[in-house]
Amino acid sequence: MLKYILKRILLMIPVILGVVILVFTLMQLTPGDPAQVILGPTATSEQINELRNEMGLNDPYIVQLGRYLYQVFLKGDFGTSYISNISITTELMQRFPKTLIFAVAGMVLSLGIGIPLGVNAAVKQNSLADYGSMTLALIGTSMPGFWFALVLILLFSAKLGWLPAYGTGGLKYWILPIASTAFAGITTMARQVRSGMLEVINSDYITMAKSKGVSKKNVIYRHALPNALIPVITVAGMSFGSSLGGTLIAETIFSIPGVGVYIVNAVNNRDYPVVQGGVILLAVAFSLIMLACDLLMAAIDPRIKAQITGGKKRGKK
């Protein structure tokens, strides 16, 4: 098992390297000259050329890529913003916790609410509770997150005046943003858990357990649920990814100074090193969560575990 974990961690290195190269290359392809952006429209072509030389923009692509990789991996330095001239790494580290709260809260809520909803719907298949929660789930997956956020603001800030519409501060500032990003995750999870549960409930070993006289509660919680939840781990990881994406928009709407606002503003200002750094940071965070999900799955699913440990463990059994 330890060997497998090590192997997976090592295998992540080329993927992250690939992400950095991909994002760097994408940003190289963007139109417009950074030197021009920094110096403004009044700069002469000599000034621009001088700055380009200074910034190393006249070097061949490979040299620039190598320099960037060296900076990022060995120094943890994403460069400085073209616009504000502030170190991107410092800025990102300051903003990242806020975005992380979003994404983690989204994942926790989708697990905490989505799983019971889905289980309940599957156990009481074709009941009112099933139809009700699945209709809600369908609506949730069909609604753009940012629009749901606007509706929440209208309802809870404009109409009822219970919660602030934007800004940061105490706990109540977090409720609407988190609710708006978590809702899609909750509904996706509920749908997934329901279909997973249904598949399990109709399988032979559940019939077997029932015919043995195991109580209904035990059948659900001891026999069905653990098996139905294994694929849910991957869904939880994916929901972390989509929460990360959702926060980008939610931060803009609720004016929360996280990584999302930083990236979106940078895109609008053509501040490419910031976009580059932000995208890489979020991609790495996402990859780490997915890796954790994979490892967790390998740890608890005996079928996958057997594949990894090969024939050794099988003999013991």
Partner: protein
Amino acid sequence: MSRAAVMEKQSNEAKKQNQFLEVMKRLSYNKGAMVGLILFLLVVLVAIFAPVLAPYDYAKINIKDRCLAPCAQYIFGTDHMGRDILSRVMYGARYSLLIGVGSVIFSAVFGVIFGSIAGFYGGKWDNLIMRLCDVIQSIPGMILNIALACVLGPGVYNTILALGTEGIAGTARLMRSSILNVRKMEYMDAARMSNCSNPFIILKHVLPNTFAPILVQATMGVGARIMMAASMSYIGIGVQPPTPEWGAMLSDSRDFLMKYPYMCLIPGVAIMIVVLALNLLGDGLRDAMDPKLKK
């Protein structure tokens, strides 16, 4: 098993027809899917006949009638420049459908090509394409879209391109795994023995048999792309106002959220209806095509 394969080859044409009809029949029994299909067709009709149906010119600015709440004259009200929101929503259907369908077709075509190469030829091509997919998929979708939009710039076609590129990896992976299932089938050996070329085998034998998951993914994908496009337009990196795309309309209404909420509710409901219709249809298609549910 081999006999079954031979029989399958013999009655290939008839069976294919049957299979398609059977799927359609099962789909037609699914109420949700039918509701979705009808809703979606309605939206398509509105998009096509927008010039006929729209009561006003969607771009005509009429300062005198600005910010009017829904009333008899303007069923959905007017926006901050006095443009009729109903007409704009109707034209908006064109953009949203174009973006959703266009980007899905884009990712399907390239995804199928790359996935086929990876699954069918295997070896170093498989390795190269799949590792690239790993890299692309380790960036959350929305974030990759924003990065791509940053490279391509705003606009309808660039948004299609960004969303389409983002989806290639997912389709390629799906295609590859379907192909790996199909590759071991006996009819593939039969085709190879009768000296068919590889591209011919892929087109004639592999694609029809791997079509189902791609179709389901595409149906669901259109809805997801419409939502993503709206989000991108909302934060100003997708379609730009005054284009009456729904996300751009929402972005336009941003400053009037508190005062004139109908401006932001109506385009959002339009998005929801289309995506809901596609999700219902996609769910139905998946159930109808899933052989596990055959009883």
